[in-house]
């Protein structure tokens, strides 16, 4: 992760994409979201969604998986250049999560993040808080998910 001071409001990162197979959709749903339209093709065909689709939590969790791996690759490159690497801390939460369209079996979602705000942490002087807008679009270019999350990022200038 970049240090808090080096992060600019407006910077955008393409995080990569993930294909949601019917098998993965059902495996996630069996454990965490066993509604019929996430589990069974025939029941899904009769549902308001019209076909098997991923749990919204599956679509959202996949964003996190790609974000963490993207930052890890960037950190590896920083280390290879001999640059220091900042720590990404915990997140207090997120808001305005919208599942804009169903993610159907076979869909590929490409995810991105954009920094929309940054501020020093009032309670933890070694950390700053960034707000990021996270989005996913399917293979047709249609937005399927969007949310704004907050995360702690380490500061370069540590308080004594």
């Amino acid at each position: 992760m970049k240090f808090f001071e080096d992060i600019a409001v407006g910077e955008r990162h393409e995080l990569g994409s993930r294909t949601f197979t019917a098998e993965a959709i059902k495996a996630f749903a069996r454990r965490y979201d066993p509604q019929a339209f996430h589990l069974d093709e025939e029941a899904a065909a009769r549902s308001p969604f019209g076909a098997l689709c991923a749990s919204g939590w599956h679509t959202a969790s996949a964003w996190m998986g790609l974000m963490v791996r993207y930052q890890r690759r960037a950190d590896d490159e920083r280390r290879a250049r001999g640059e220091p690497v900042a720590e990404l801390g915990p997140s207090p939460g997120f808001r305005d999560l919208k599942w804009l369209k169903p993610v159907y079996a076979g869909d590929t979602v490409s995810y991105a993040m954009e920094v929309v705000d940054k501020r020093p942490s009032g309670s933890r002087p070694n950390w700053g808080l960034i707000t990021i807008r996270n989005t996913g679009v399917n293979q047709k270019g249609e937005p399927v998910i969007s949310f704004d999350s907050v995360a702690f990022v380490e500061r370069r200038e540590r308080a004594a």
């Binding site: 965490y32 066993p34 969790s61 996190m64 999560l97 919208k98 599942w99």
Partner: protein
């Protein structure tokens, strides 16, 4: 057939569910796929972080809360899914093998203007750990079929 329709989600109604155990192996398996940060994967590495020990990924917590909602009432309801989530707050770490309890309180119910066969219920969820501490809150609206409407239920 669904037991619960939009008309049953009256403001003030509370659904409780628990205990729901979050096994260490499941927490780590989830993190390995969806949130592979050291403090979600490895006890030793987690000790040196702000978490002070292995903690569940917030996305695992959301997914577990979804499962608890499903078991508490969603699977019995004429659920048509949810358009999104207004807000999630991760207030305290969820630890391996803890037993969680959920309280879901209906805050508001409104009929859909465009879809006479359904309505929205705005619900606040609170998730407590085994010691009774509030670890997470979530506010979200559920789309639910109306009683007597054709179709509606999945």
């Amino acid at each position: 057939m669904p037991q619960l329709y939009w008309e049953d989600f009256t403001p003030g109604r509370v659904f409780e569910h628990g205990p729901h155990r979050v096994p260490r192996a499941e927490m780590i398996e989830f993190a390995a796929e969806f949130d592979p940060q050291p403090f979600h994967l490895d006890e030793e590495a987690a000790r040196a972080t702000m978490f002070g020990g292995l903690a569940a990924s917030g996305w695992y917590s959301c997914s577990v809360l979804m499962r608890m909602m499903a078991d508490a009432f969603v699977l019995d309801a004429a659920s048509m899914g949810a358009p999104g989530v207004e807000e999630v707050k991760w207030l305290a770490p969820i630890r391996p093998d803890d037993e969680l309890h959920m309280r879901a309180s209906v805050m508001e119910a409104r009929a859909s203007r465009s879809r006479p066969d359904m309505g929205f219920a705005r619900i606040r969820y609170e998730l407590f750990n085994g010691a009774g501490e509030l670890v997470m809150t979530l506010v979200s609206s559920l789309m639910i079929g109306r009683r007597g409407a054709a179709g509606g239920a999945a």
